[in-house]
């Protein structure tokens, strides 16, 4: 294309079939599997729906937190990268919520906008606010993406075709997210004295939320047997190895912090959250709840 053809090349964009028309929004169609695919043999649809919500809510709620960075990032390249990461996760969430909706008589929007916080199944790490601290943003992305990538790798062969399709696309996305976070962990850890202190403090604050990532829920335990889910406990070794390698290279110390406690053995996967989630959902759901039964 050259500048002489500017008008002509603009005219080309009036083609309504151009996939960029809804850039970043076509994932439900692109996922490569039908949301309405039959439930794999021997699987309780309620368990499958719950599992889709776990994976979907992790992505949706974390995407919300990443979106808080829009117009607040330290550099334009980071604006683009953080928004892109948020879009990738939103795309994953939409497919998983649509699958759960199909199984339970709802859709992606009824699940995102009409559930209470106690009905969300995400881990606490996804719902914490960064408070616009870029070190927190980087630390969380490093931990979250290392863990989710390990999960999605193992879900490539899931007996549920929708989960397998999300994993197929998601592995590429999470590989990029983890790489981005690792590169920034190095820069902040081994940058200035100030950035080192801030990055270490961020890891110290995040570490108590790591243990939950490897706790196995009852639904997951049942679905592992059916070849649908992965036991998150099995990803621990791999995630630890990645984190150890990155932190050591970044001259950071792996925090030695106990996990935050559960309430009667229950945490995010059972709908028991931190105080942060309610505020995020209040904001996310406000407009949709003001106009129930409305098309947008």
């Amino acid at each position: 294309m050259n500048e002489q053809n500017a008008y002509q090349s603009l005219a080309e964009t009036t083609d309504h079939d151009d996939p960029r028309w809804a850039f970043g929004t076509g994932i439900v169609e692109e996922a490569g599997a039908e949301i309405t695919s039959p439930v794999p043999d021997g699987v309780d649809p309620a368990d499958l729906a719950a599992y889709c919500l776990m994976l979907g809510d992790d992505a949706l709620v974390y995407s919300h937190r990443l979106s808080e960075w829009v117009s607040n990032a330290p550099e334009l390249e980071e604006e683009v990268a953080l928004a892109n990461t948020a879009l990738d996760l939103l795309g994953q969430a939409r497919v998983l919520l649509a699958r759960a909706g199909h199984l339970t008589g709802g859709d992606e929007d009824s699940l995102a906008y009409r559930r209470t916080d106690a009905e969300f199944r995400n881990v606490a790490l996804a719902e914490l606010s960064d408070g616009l601290d870029f070190a927190r943003c980087v630390g969380r992305m490093l931990i979250f993406s290392s863990w989710r990538l390990a999960l999605l790798h193992r879900l490539l062969g899931s007996a549920d075709p929708v989960i397998a399709a999300v994993a197929g696309k998601g592995v590429k996305e999470l590989t990029y997210h983890r790489d981005y976070a690792a590169r920034w962990t190095l820069r902040l850890g081994d940058g200035t004295d100030e950035s080192h202190v801030r990055m270490q403090a961020a890891l110290d604050a995040l570490w108590p939320y790591v243990g939950e990532l490897f706790r196995t829920s009852d639904e997951e335990r049942r679905l592992v047997g059916a070849g649908v889910a992965v036991d998150p406990a099995q990803t621990r070794e791999e995630v630890d190895a990645v984190l150890d390698q990155v932190l050591a290279q970044a001259t950071l110390t792996r925090p030695d912090k106990p996990s935050i406690g559960t309430i009667g053995g229950r945490s995010g996967r059972q709908g028991v959250h931190t105080e942060h989630l309610g505020h995020a959902l209040a904001e996310m759901q406000s407009l949709a709840r003001q106009h129930p039964d409305t098309q947008w």
Partner: protein, 310 residues
């Protein structure tokens, strides 16, 4: 010098492009830096009013569309700062000028976004006005700017369609949604007309910019084109513009329209629009809060370089 100036004039006269390595008059360079910087700043400041609704978008599809759009704007800011850099100024320097209010950005972003209809109306009217302004810039005499504009205009046309599509969905929805759309159009119509700048008889820089091939049409020509384009679109949506003077003129084969409130325009340009102080303070806070991050990245890069050298 005369030789170089003659070559510059001949390039402009032949409607060819000036490239960064070419000689150019200092005033041409200054004009371009001012205009491209202002344009880059507009993209970056424009992320705020739209970003205001990302967290509250009413469906996940609308959220994805809006997030992608705001991400595109950050990208546009990047290409435009890069185009300005070919003229010998860097992004850091221009950002400082923005947050010290020494350079301007489009007046439209000094208005608040108060409902989700504003997201649609910004796409339809504000991006529509921006496209009218920017399409001729794809033939701007300065090559890097013209090329950046081609890419930006293509993306803007997606944004405009997405905005219009949101409004179509809303006017086909509930009474509350239709009212929301009309109320939003009432607020944004006049500020959108002001995006074309002051009337031709009060636009001091226009003549020189046209002579240099930076500008191709006058402010009033572009404004008229925008009005003529927008009226049938409003009719299709079933909304009205808040201008009693708006009427088809069969002699001119164009719509007559009323005079924007130029006092309001001047006040916004001078810094006292509804959201000027908020926009600049927000940008300043983001920039200052990111200083330690940029310093760390620089320190890390320096250490890596030293390690490679050792």
């Amino acid at each position: 010098m005369d030789d170089m100036e003659a070559r510059f004039d001949a390039t402009i006269a032949a409607d060819q492009r000036i490239e960064p390595r070419d000689w150019m008059p200092e005033a041409y360079r200054r004009t371009l830096i001012r205009q491209i910087a202002q344009h880059a700043h507009s993209e970056i400041i424009g992320m705020q009013p739209e970003g205001n609704w990302i967290l509250r978008a009413p469906t996940l599809r609308r959220k994805a569309i809006l997030l992608a759009k705001v991400q595109d704007e950050a990208g546009h800011g990047m290409y435009l700062y890069a185009a300005a850099e070919t003229l010998g100024v860097d992004r850091e320097e221009l950002t400082e000028k923005l947050i010290e209010s020494k350079q301007k950005y489009s007046s439209i972003f000094n208005y608040p976004t108060l409902s989700y209809a504003d997201i649609g109306v910004i796409g339809w009217l504000v991006d529509g006005a921006a496209i009218c302004n920017q399409v001729p810039l794809c033939r701007c005499s300065y090559g890097p700017y013209a090329r950046a504009m081609i890419r930006i205009c293509k993306e803007e046309s997606f944004h405009q369609r997405q905005g219009y599509e949101l409004l179509l969905a809303m006017v086909n929805g509930t009474d509350a949604q239709r009212e929301m759309v009309q109320e939003s159009v009432n607020r944004w119509w006049w500020p959108s007309l002001m995006m074309f700048g002051p009337p031709d008889d009060d636009s001091p820089n226009s003549a020189q910019s046209m002579k240099w091939g930076i500008k191709r049409h006058t402010n009033d020509e572009l404004r008229q084109r925008f009005v003529d384009m927008s009226v049938p679109q409003a009719q299709a949506l079933g909304v009205t513009f808040p201008d009693p003077a708006l009427a088809w003129n069969p002699e001119r084969q164009s719509y007559d329209y009323g005079e924007p409130d130029w006092d309001e325009f001047k006040a916004v340009i001078a810094g006292s629009g509804p959201a000027n102080a908020q926009r600049v303070a927000h940008r300043r806070a983001a920039h200052e809060n990111g200083a330690w991050v940029r310093e760390a990245a620089q320190a890390y890069a320096d250490k890596q370089k030293a390690r490679v050298a050792a």
